[in-house]
Symmetry: C2
Subunit: 422 residues, 2 copies
């Protein structure tokens, strides 16, 4: 068994050690050539990032669309005080007690192609205390404002679950306090993280990045295989430094582990980040901060299925239920590196490693084809059309059919060499 | 709103800043007193750990029970070679091709009270190649052995998913390759991590611990709020050092975040670890390694519901489907610190923060009462009986009803002061 020659079978084999048969391995150029092409990419990315970003104001949309921004704790505190004062005046002057709450419904959302993300329009409605249908929500809103005010004074962070438990009698179930929390974000014009309410983190980062987390300096090249857990509170993250040429955004844990163990970031200087599936808010904020501060291109490695593209779009354009905060949560200009539907034939992924798409998959794929953020990228439309036509999907791990390290040693280097991203 | 006095309501309030009404806050002694009681605990724990651990051999069970151990890559490799040689001999001598595969079924499992964990008995069955009902499984077993042999030679780690994709045509679906992988562990007498097949990690650790991950030294007091992601491959973890007095095992992310932000480990020197829900293999291995190398007591903070206790038991006694590896995956002598059913009344958790148990919850609770590892701890039986009787459960976060920091500032310190663990 130790002698490889003797094991060779008559059928074509895709063994790890059978290098001559690895598709495209012979097309790989020396790393120095690939690195030069990456430097070009980085330069073009940092110059495009430095050109003034388009804002709602540039598009004359600032009066009809609503956006929130990161505010300091003291600004949040004074915004709450002003809001309460305004309401006190209204009560004293005989106009009663009501909050003016922005609508977050789908009808009040808009995809803006120039910004390449979903934004919230300016519709709002009055939430009256003296009305049987809104009295509960008005009370909850007041209570949430009071709790946020306490968080500002103490300068601590809590989760949405903590917030719920401070007054279960009033909130009844967590969806109610969560939903009003988003209302309060919109009303105060600040991001949810400015309110010091954080989501549980699940993302990890490894590679050529140094940053501070709550005052501790973290060197992500020295985080072994496990990597650094992405902090839940982005406001305590700072001092980002990097000599990376790009950020590699990975959908799944297994591919992340492969790249971390192979220290892929040392061969091709990069920062590797994953949310282990669905993007959480902490990872989205962290990715955006890296992109903005380091001016690096972002290349995405996702499964070749409609959910892979959907995940890419959440990082890129935002999710619908947090459209009011899309400016802070989204990372512009993410490139789709792989696994793309056209890769399946190009890289000769064997039939048995491809999976048939379910009816639901195909429907999701077709729905995505109708989305503006897909339509604006002709390359994506072409790939997605191919996926829906062939009715085949494949996971990143399907590349293991050519050996466990095919991903890090052939597929990714070749993709980078050929600048094969969309 | 900034003036606290003016906000006071007539109803009793459990506000963050309303310290006089926080249950038991006035019973807290100075930290120095609590620390002394923790030092006593640590000393007793390290002396009990150094006393020789009971083994299967001590109980005269080694001939009737089967256990695996951590093996080096070269031992795994030579075990595979011996196994294949033995089979070759069998074929040449006319006895055919078969693997002797240990049974991993429930009927072949045993809870050993002296060891306080589930072990596998010695039943096994022959898996013949020349038999229509076993030919597929025999082929899969051979293929998995071959793949593991490759991993040993390359000294890399892969996930179970990677393994599946190396031969989809043969394995058909991942449950088949996963199940044979466990068979192979048993056959070779080594842990699954010795095979270099790892599970995705999701645990994090923070606090008074320094260790090496794949050669990088990690100081977990300098990991900010996010903490260090627990590495997926325990064999590359080493050099553990700590001045902690105990390990605090936390079920959920929200409580972990609270304790990390408050740097609880600086007030009471400890290591805080969480798997964010269901314990994964990487976190279980990491916890055990800490316990064994640092000889620290482990205190568990879980929800007061049957699943909290179940999670505690998986860390402590193992899960049934990996009973063959219970010696390496389990952490002996975990103490149940909280939230315990008796705490709900003791700490005056308001009715509205308790949740009624569902029929399924109650059934799970009753089933747990029949389990040997619960029965052997009379304190646990008493608590669980109370839970099933009152039909009430509560999450750790229910403590937020007394203020966001009640957990870290009153509840945990008081528990430690009173040595209130079971």
């Amino acid at each position: 068994m130790a002698d490889k020659k003797k094991r060779r079978r008559t059928e074509p084999s895709f063994e790890d050690d059978d290098e001559t048969q690895l598709p495209f391995k012979n097309r790989l150029k020396p790393d120095s050539v690939i690195l030069q092409s990456l430097r070009d990419l980085t330069n073009s990315s940092s110059s495009s990032s430095t050109s003034k970003a388009v804002t709602l104001a540039d598009l004359s949309l600032s009066s009809t669309c609503r956006e929130v921004s990161d505010l300091t704790l003291s600004s949040v505190q004074s915004n709450i005080e002003s809001l309460i004062l305004k309401i006190a005046h209204s009560i004293i002057s005989g106009n009663g007690f009501a909050f003016d709450v922005p609508s977050r419904s789908a009808a009040n959302q808009l995809y803006v192609p120039e910004l390449d993300r979903i934004v919230l329009k300016d519709k709002s409605s009055l939430r009256h205390y003296a009305n049987i249908s809104t009295v509960r929500k008005t009370t909850i809103t007041t209570r949430i404002l009071q709790l946020i005010y306490q968080l500002c004074m103490k300068s601590i962070h809590v989760t949405k679950r903590d917030l719920f438990y401070t007054d279960v009698k009033l909130f009844q179930d967590q969806t109610q306090s969560d939903s009003v929390l988003d209302d309060v974000s919109c009303m105060l014009g600040c991001t949810r993280s400015s309110l010091n309410v954080i989501a549980a983190e699940k993302g990890v980062v490894v590679g050529r990045l140094i940053f501070s987390d709550n005052g501790d300096m973290i060197d992500c090249t020295k985080m072994g295989m496990g990597g650094k857990a992405i902090p839940p509170n982005i406001d305590r993250v700072g001092d980002m430094q990097s000599d990376a040429l790009f950020i590699l955004l990975v959908e799944k844990d297994a591919a992340y582990i492969r790249l971390a163990e192979d220290r892929f970031y040392n061969r091709f200087p990069c920062i590797i980040v994953t949310a282990k599936g669905q993007p959480d808010v902490a990872t989205r904020l962290f990715l955006r901060k890296m992109k903005m501060e380091l001016k690096l291109p972002v290349l995405a490695l996702v499964d070749s299925d409609p959910y892979g593209l959907k995940i890419l779009s959440v990082y890129g354009c935002g999710s619908k239920n947090m459209s009011y905060d899309s400016a802070n949560l989204t990372t512009p200009d993410i490139k789709w590196l792989g696994i793309r539907p056209s890769d399946l034939d190009k890289y000769k992924i064997p039939e048995q490693c491809r999976l048939p798409m379910t009816e639901q998959d195909i429907k999701t794929g077709k729905d995505l084809l109708e989305e503006d953020f897909v339509k604006k990228n002709p390359g994506w439309v072409e790939e997605l059309t191919l996926m829906v036509k062939t009715k085949q999907k494949a996971e990143i791990q399907a590349l293991s059919t050519f050996g466990f390290q095919y991903l890090s040693e052939v597929y990714l280097p070749l993709k980078l060499q050929q600048r094969d991203w969309l």
